[in-house]
């Protein structure tokens, strides 16, 4: 059940272990798991090379420095490493876009998928920053703290996700 080479672990077990990560987050940083604000930290840090004035914006400036912000950047970078390790051990590395897109779009065009991925990523992070959190920050962490913001944001996320998915072709 805990085999590192297994393709899949029980979603209940894996999910419960993810929830345990709240303990080091709270003990060492006094905050909960999150992912989306790291996109602000990274993109604003890059933008600062061409637009030094961005630091003066109170929102952008808030995410530029400090242990908490860069802890989250390291966290999401670590996600890529951990997923790479797990997939390498299990033989589940991928390359081409998931076959689900051919079903959902009715075309195997890579260009169509790339355009959709770009738009999706853009809307996803714009929306998550507007809401002040994503599936991690509002979802896993917000609801685990019984935060009203988490319940509202997660309900809205599922509403938006389901409404959009209904416009795609059925995947099964």
């Amino acid at each position: 059940m805990f085999g590192l080479k297994e393709k899949a672990w029980s979603p209940y077990l894996a999910g419960a272990l993810i929830g345990l990560l709240q303990v080091p987050a709270f003990i060492f940083l006094g905050t909960a798991l999150g992912a989306s604000s790291s996109y602000v930290t990274v993109s604003v840090s890059i933008a600062e090379f061409v637009d030094p004035g961005i630091r003066a914006l109170s929102y952008a400036g808030k995410y530029l420095d400090g242990a908490k912000n860069w802890w989250q950047v390291a966290l999401v970078a670590g996600i890529a490493v951990g997923a790479f390790l797990s997939a390498t051990l299990a033989g589940t590395r991928r390359s081409a876009p998931s076959p689900v897109w051919a079903r959902a779009l009715g075309t195997k065009s890579t260009a169509a998928r790339f355009a959709m991925a770009f738009l999706g990523g853009f809307v996803l992070l714009f929306g998550a920053r507007l809401a002040d959190g994503c599936t991690s920050g509002h979802g896993i962490s917000g609801i685990a703290q019984l935060a009203v913001s988490g319940f509202i944001a997660v309900a809205a996320m599922f509403a938006g996700g389901i409404a959009t998915a209904m416009l795609l072709k059925p995947v099964r």
Partner: protein, 210 residues
């Protein structure tokens, strides 16, 4: 905490997080889009399990004094409804959440790099627009509202009760359809057509034959 310590801790926690996201298969676009079409429930299983264990450890942390203070986010009805809805649209189009994009990059999904670039630009665009949006959507918060705060109860009994309810829901889900049935042959959440879809395809073929 020094920056170096924060980066090291983040990296170690992230590696564990990414490893678990990969093992749970919740990062697969097939799982995420399947969930949003209510045809695959792996995502909900992982999500509710993570919430349930988070509730338990935070309740225990409060009871033992190990985690003296929670860190809930402020409530902003308009921003959370609109932003959440947009994020949901993005979850389906990207087939990912902000965290799982990185898991997709890690396992090698080529389109995930494009999603990542889109995400960085979306976050940057918001950072530039925030001063404009602030008076419309980001002011007038009633504060960091929580259920236990509204009910005037301590956190831990409510959290443990809610966690127990979630475990009950997960148990019922597993009875209804065991999770392994939702993995797909290639562990990517892609499942064979439903009976209904097969009948529909047969009917369409019959019409085509005349």
């Amino acid at each position: 905490m020094s920056i170096i310590a924060a980066l090291s801790l983040g990296l170690v926690m992230g590696i564990a997080f990414g490893f678990l996201l990969e093992k749970s298969r919740v990062f697969e676009p097939g799982v995420i889009v399947g969930q949003m079409q209510m045809r695959n429930f792996l995502m909900l299983r992982v999500f509710l399990a993570a919430v349930a264990s988070g509730l338990v450890v935070l309740a225990l942390g409060q009871l033992t004094g190990l985690i003296p203070k929670l860190d809930p986010k402020a409530t902003l009805y308009g921003a959370q409804l609109l932003g959440g809805f947009l994020a949901g649209v993005g979850i389906t189009l990207a087939g990912a959440c902000p965290g799982t994009i990185l898991a997709q990059v890690g396992v090698g999904y080529r389109d995930a790099i494009v999603t990542l670039v889109g995400g960085l630009l979306g976050a940057l665009t918001f950072a530039y627009l925030e001063p404009t949006l602030r008076p419309i959507l980001l002011t007038g918060s009633p504060g960091k509202l929580t259920l236990h705060g509204l009910l005037g109860l301590p956190f831990w009994p409510l959290a443990l009760g809610f966690a127990a309810a979630l475990v009950g829901i997960l148990y019922a889900m597993e009875r209804w359809r065991p999770w392994r049935m939702e993995l797909g042959e290639n562990a990517d959440g892609l499942l064979p057509p439903t009976k209904r879809a097969e009948r529909r395809a047969e009917a369409a073929a019959a019409v085509a034959r005349g």
